[in-house]
Symmetry: D2
Subunit: 306 residues, 4 copies
């Protein structure tokens, strides 16, 4: 990708999508509901270390479910086949927080991109790490190269006070023996991990790891094996956009993960990572303008994996 | 890909997987049950027109559900958004012939890679084509470059005589208004389309279209737009291996479609198509040795899309 | 029950409920849709041979699903435990024509009061009787004491031409091996059995068998054992009103069966049978005014089984 | 019923069923697992004030889910239509602790005889009563006429420490807004209510209320209206034996409620209540020998409601 044209391309994409005011902002906790719905940021970070951003690309927002990819990555540093017994890799075919499949499949979540699966990953991290929250935050800071990234404790506390659905999920898995640690400790890690605030620039740089065969762009430090990186990309591809993974593959064609804070992080293996932020969500819970922006990006650059 | 090493690689893969005698051959119709379970063929066809094959790569077998990709391709030549209203693009999360989601979602199949979705595609073709069976066969012959490819009428008749599950599916969709033509005529096309016999070589050449941005390798004739080709690859990626699409993405990392006749056809966009044949099926209904062979191929050539 | 007061009671009930014009008439076949929605008939037949009727109690209408009780009764004359292996006795918890439970429970219907269960009963009768349709009609005539009762062939033909949901159900059961005879022959019996036209008077007299421990009122001829009669009443009680069996037990408190033709037949064991006809159906598919009339009857006579 | 023959009948029933050692005792909490599996008690209490018992009919056991009928009764003293909005009266068609229907039906339990429904009833009692546990215990003591009946606190504490499934259920309902009070307070009432220990004699006397049109046998004090009594009996009939309500209606034919402590309490309206205790449970979670004993009782006395 060349610098000038890509910067122009991002400007054009922003102009196309910022007039899109469809969708509604998440309001189930006050902190998400108070964000300006008109925000729009987009940032590309290439494996060559180049960066291109537009709009509110340096403003931090709540990454929410995007954290699930990083939780999975952190867990993969510690454990291998153990993880596969406790959480699957298949798409769910049901909304992201459904208990139905979880009950039919006896407490083993379909994949680590839905709430139940990420909670099992948190259970593993609580078991393995001395300081689960601190250790996870250090890991995210290291991947992003930014030491000021932090939890938003008011977001985490709000989630904890209204997270009845997640408490239902973790208790159901505990009843099937698929949660080992204390429920409150596991949820505390999960709610904090979701509360992390990052900008599009920081997210794109963090996800460039997955475009770079598991090595940090810049230092070249190897974090993940090529094989594990490929597997994380595959899970994002098939399961990363809730009940809209197929539509996203169809229209965008990149592995990606979205969050109710309005962010999407996507990866073109071997080339670049991109993050986009737009707070209004479509009826499947995915950011509407961000989805459209990524479709324009891959159409105009011909950079789908398909 | 270089010729010598790839030929050697295929030989090595064959040696690795032919000792694998796990899984069982499909026996629900006599014609499938009488195949030698030890058969193994594999064939790669590149976008440069190179071919590499091993084992029983020139022996024809029943392509079964692999036909669904070609039915979808044929339908896309005729119709656009119409198709999207009548069949989705999301993974199903349930076994390939389940009526459960179909009932909850009021007769609109999840995607065109499951039986219900392929039957809706057949309904569209019956409505659009003067001679649906003849027209479809001509299309497959054209893509493959082989005029001797044909239906196996005894297979089609056997399927028709025992296809109660498919009759249940089509009647359910008809009750929701999502089938317009005569049920028997639609099923006749569907059962014939599934009965087509092709070799790995013929399948790989046929699927090289999807690796070549929609143009026939050799003549360069444009069959599909680049955008539609990308969408077909995306649907194969997320929905092509029944309830094992995630596992396949995780381990192999290519868009692909399997069939109960033991075949799998896969695509590396921009590079090659590959077909593999091994009649024994694992407990998810996918060819066991063929799955393993494709995993070795993408591992050893580093050619996953992820 | 005394004659004078009961006749007065029925008059009062009729006055109370005929102003109720909530609900809508079934229109999926033309013959049902052309009935006058304002019709209302009610008839009580006691085990002592007394009869009380009001309104359109002598006008015939399509008994539809009420036939399922009589199909089950006819089958019980022939077979015992065989039936229990092929159809259950538990309430379904899902709408009456759902395929979902049928697929989860591998083709064995929940009970003989839902379509799937009645179709299995028809399959048994086709296997056991030389002339299934003629034999069944003779049986209904005998129970009712009326030789002019007949199939409405235009209703049966209409049902056959639009019965896609029932065809879906029977093919699904056939795929699980729970249908033995030819599908068309079984459906032909089923659609004819549903098409029978009877009046409230004829239905009440027919169902007085179940109030009279299995013996015909009048002749005293024993048709069913006391134990089998009790079991049929129990199945009506728990499964007879589709997804509203609990509400009906709660408000009326009698074993009963409803049909989309607007009829309900109910039984007070040891005392009387009652039939009511009102064509408008509530949102659960049960006759609205008829339901209300039965609630008034059991409240005012104190004749609930509870 | 005459005294001598009924006492002899109970002796005969006991001899028939005590050799039945099928089924397994509940062991999910230690207190239930330590009970002698060979225990068998049975007690009949008539509306005339007569009592007949056999075996271990005076030994107390954990009433568990039988408490749900008494919770419902207590709630009905306070509230009317409010209850109907928050819990239904239809059979569930799924195992007693399933979350699946609860999610599809947006947090409104099918009926008050399943865990979810009884928990909603507890939520109402917590809201309405100053001392919910004390008030409920007083109510049970009053109905039974026995002031020594009490909670088994070690049972309640064991349930609380392993009740992950119930915590999953209550959090799911809370997420849908169908729980108003504090989760821990509601569960504390629920677990204590289930822990109450009573003998067959005490249970039969308590349930004789439901056979006596809502009045206490003996004093004649009116507790419930006739109409509410009828409704409680109707709910027991259609929903009282988990996923075996139909089979129980079919074979026994009385409104009843079972518990995993091995008890069943049943009612013949207008005549008698009966309680039976046998700790071994069949594969549906109902007491095996107790079920058989009740079938013999209604067969031999001809006292089914059908």
């Amino acid at each position: 990708m060349q610098q000038e044209p890509l910067q122009d391309l991002l400007s054009g994409i922003r102009r196309s999508v910022i007039t899109n005011d469809s969708g509604t902002i998440a309001t189930y906790i006050p902190q998400l509901g108070s964000v300006d719905p008109a925000k729009f940021g987009m940032h590309v970070a290439t494996v060559d270390g180049d960066d291109f951003g537009i709009g509110d690309n340096q403003e931090r927002f709540s990454i929410q479910s995007i954290t699930k990819v990083l939780l999975l990555t952190r867990a993969k540093l510690e454990i291998g086949s153990e993880l596969n017994k406790r959480v699957g890799v298949e798409p769910s075919g049901d909304p992201f927080n459904s208990l139905i499949q979880l009950e039919y499949e006896r407490g083993v979540p379909r994949n680590p991109m839905i709430n139940a699966g990420a909670i099992v990953v948190c259970d593993l991290l609580v078991e393995l790490l001395d300081d689960p929250k601190g250790g996870y935050l250090s890991f995210v800071r290291k991947l992003s190269g930014c030491e000021t990234i932090d939890f938003d404790r008011s977001v985490a506390e709000s989630e904890a006070s209204c997270g009845f659905r997640n408490r239902s999920i973790i208790n159901l898995m505990k009843s099937f023996g698929n949660i080992r640690s204390d429920i409150e400790e596991v949820l505390d890690l999960y709610f904090h991990a979701c509360s992390i605030a990052m900008s599009c620039q920081e997210l794109a740089r963090t996800f460039s790891l997955f475009a770079n065969a598991g090595a940090l762009v810049g230092s070249g430090e190897k974090i993940l094996s090529k094989s594990r990186t490929k597997r994380i990309n595959a899970v994002m591809q098939t399961c990363g956009l809730y009940d809209e993974a197929g539509e996203f593959a169809f229209r965008v064609g990149l592995p990606a993960k979205s969050g109710v804070g309005g962010g999407i992080a996507a990866v073109h293996p071997g080339h670049y990572a991109v993050a986009v932020w737009s707070p209004r969500l479509n009826d499947k819970g995915n950011p509407a303008a961000g989805f459209a922006a990524l479709e324009l990006l891959t159409d105009q650059t011909g950079s789908s994996i398909f």
